[in-house]
Symmetry: C2
Subunit: 368 residues, 2 copies
């Protein structure tokens, strides 16, 4: 059976003060009143029934996830006691699904981006499921058609097309993964037409990815198997609490995908092209691209506001009664929440994380 | 007897969003936790006993004034039902004091400035009282020694020294009042050493200023006399409400001081030099000069704040729990109150009034 697992774990410091340690960005209603989690869920629902969609998140965020997605069965919440990077997050879901359904195929999707058109996402997902049907040992990743030579993303180098019996779309063998390149390299990648942005989304048979974990990261495999064995028993929480801290912290890319793409292990790697607009909303300028703009090119998510001679700003306020007013400012970010306000030029947005560190130094966890 | 009357009527739009229609700037704790009204009261208290200090303000602000000055006798509150400009505000106090004490001499002082050193203010006040003692028909104004050619203030042109028996200080006859000059003229005034900034503060016998009002503004004189006659009766409020709206709206400068300085009427005009630092705190940049500055020249009145690479800003927040954080901003004003935030460059501070007008257009009285 086919399943969907939404990864919704990140803290999203770069969207502070809206996102907080206890209010991850995926759960915030940042896109026309909808959360990224809700958008991700709705995308999956076009392909999978509700009972086969899971959410993997920090255990502490469980109640917020259920509030965001009232239709999510409580049993479909995979709560990590703590973050142990993506190898364990995806391994956790694979182990639990495999325990219930030995032929489980999982689509691992993120909730960090706005993806449009949804139809292209969904058809790529269907193609990837077809690939695992015909090639059970294939780890399928998704390649976003790059719009420009982005230096902040990883790239997937595609090789020959994969022969598929069903003519539902095209998949390619993967020649390799490339870390964040410098600008000339990134531009060369895009010009070549043979590189995709690495989406961090996957489709695979759970037994296939677990076998690779067993090969490359046996410690994690053993731990996750113990968790899966205890999952439908009274010992679930005790085992989770005991095992999770012992799992080696590593990304699935380093642990499995890269070695597999180099022929180490038994699995192979394919990429399905996903021709979508892929908006990372993990920083204020990025998020701003999803907001409505007024006639002065201000990206605005603010109920009460008055701007005088102010252009090209990003103004976000979560309190509908609080008035945000400006005179003569340009290219600024103003974010107002009930207990904190941020003012900084757009050009300094990448330093929000540094600021949050200083806030922590000065005030401890008060505004985290 | 000598009395003090503090004028505390202005709305102070330029300090929005801290000052509001129902929270005039004189009542805000803007200077090291003290209000301008409190500072003005404390200055007078060095010269006059508490029972002879009055406050003239909008009737609606009475409770706030009494909260600010718990030692003010309730009877010493002169509440105007509405603002009718300074001719009536000072005439109102003169009429009420004259009704109780036919020899009443009033010092009319403002609460718009921080004045230092206080001793120089107090000694100028004593000199002015002496002037009215020896010259009962003299309207005494105070001239601030100008520190520079300010184009936003009126100037007093001084003439010959006035002979005084008591050697407590120097007063001069006034040759004329000058409206806000252009910059070359203002500089010339300062260089000449014969011009003062017009302080808008006065000392006069109440009967003298009332006689001038009778000459130059008989309608106001008649109305104010009716109010004074009804003051210690049950009809006080009814007469106030009936008469006040009918008073002609005009400043005391236009109505009395200028004509008197030109020899029209029976009174004469003198000026007592007040060698003080005279900080108008009626705008954000001006108020900032009274605030503490941090090591990056930020003027800060904010309990919780974190600034990264931010210099020469003005940051004011009235909510001690709300965090104000900035990255890489310079020469900006950020003011945060519970229901409104203002962000604008220092250079745009004079446009706050315009902004407040736009806020009113959009939201009516909500943030006024």
């Amino acid at each position: 059976m086919q399943y969907g697992v939404i990864m919704a774990g990140g803290a999203g410091t770069r969207l502070w003060p809206l996102s907080r340690g206890n209010r991850p960005k995926q759960l915030l209603p940042v896109v026309q009143g909808k959360s990224l989690l809700r958008l991700s869920y709705d995308r999956l629902r076009g392909v999978l029934p509700a009972e086969r969609i899971f959410v993997c998140t920090g255990a502490a965020f469980g109640p917020q996830v259920l509030e965001n997605l009232p239709e999510l069965p409580k049993e479909n919440l995979l709560g990590e006691p703590m973050g142990r990077d993506t190898a364990n997050a995806v391994g956790f879901s694979a182990a639990v699904l495999r325990q219930r359904d030995k032929d489980a195929v999982a689509a691992i999707v993120t909730a960090d981006h706005v993806i449009e058109p949804i139809e292209n996402f969904q058809s790529a997902l269907r193609t990837a499921f077809d690939v695992t049907d015909e090639h059970p040992n294939m780890l399928v990743t998704f390649g976003i058609l790059p719009s420009h030579g982005h230096t902040g993303l990883g790239y997937v180098h595609r090789g020959e097309p994969l022969r598929l019996k069903r003519d539902t779309g095209t998949a390619y063998r993967v020649l390799g993964f490339k870390e964040k390149p410098d600008k000339p390299t990134a531009d060369r990648y895009v010009e070549s037409g043979r590189y995709y942005w690495n989406s961090g989304m996957f489709v695979w048979r759970c037994d296939t990815v677990l076998a690779e974990l067993a090969t490359h990261l046996p410690l994690a495999h053993r731990g996750l198997t113990r968790i899966a064995d205890a999952w439908d028993t009274a010992r679930r929480d005790a085992v989770l609490q005991e095992v999770y801290p012992t799992l080696p912290k590593i990304s699935i890319d380093y642990a499995v995908m890269e070695p597999a793409s180099q022929g180490k292990g038994r699995a192979q790697v394919a990429v399905v092209e996903m021709p979508v607009q892929w908006l990372d909303v993990g920083s204020w300028p990025a998020l701003a691209e999803t907001l409505r703009t007024d006639e002065h090119s201000n990206a605005v998510e603010c109920n009460a506001c008055v701007f005088v001679d102010s252009d090209d700003n990003i103004i976000v306020s979560e309190d509908p009664e609080h008035l945000i007013s400006t005179i003569g400012i340009n290219d600024m970010i103003i974010v107002h929440t009930r207990d904190a306000t941020l003012v900084c030029p757009k050009g300094e947005a990448q330093r929000v994380k540094e600021l949050v560190g200083k806030v922590k130094e000065k005030f401890g966890n008060k505004y985290q």
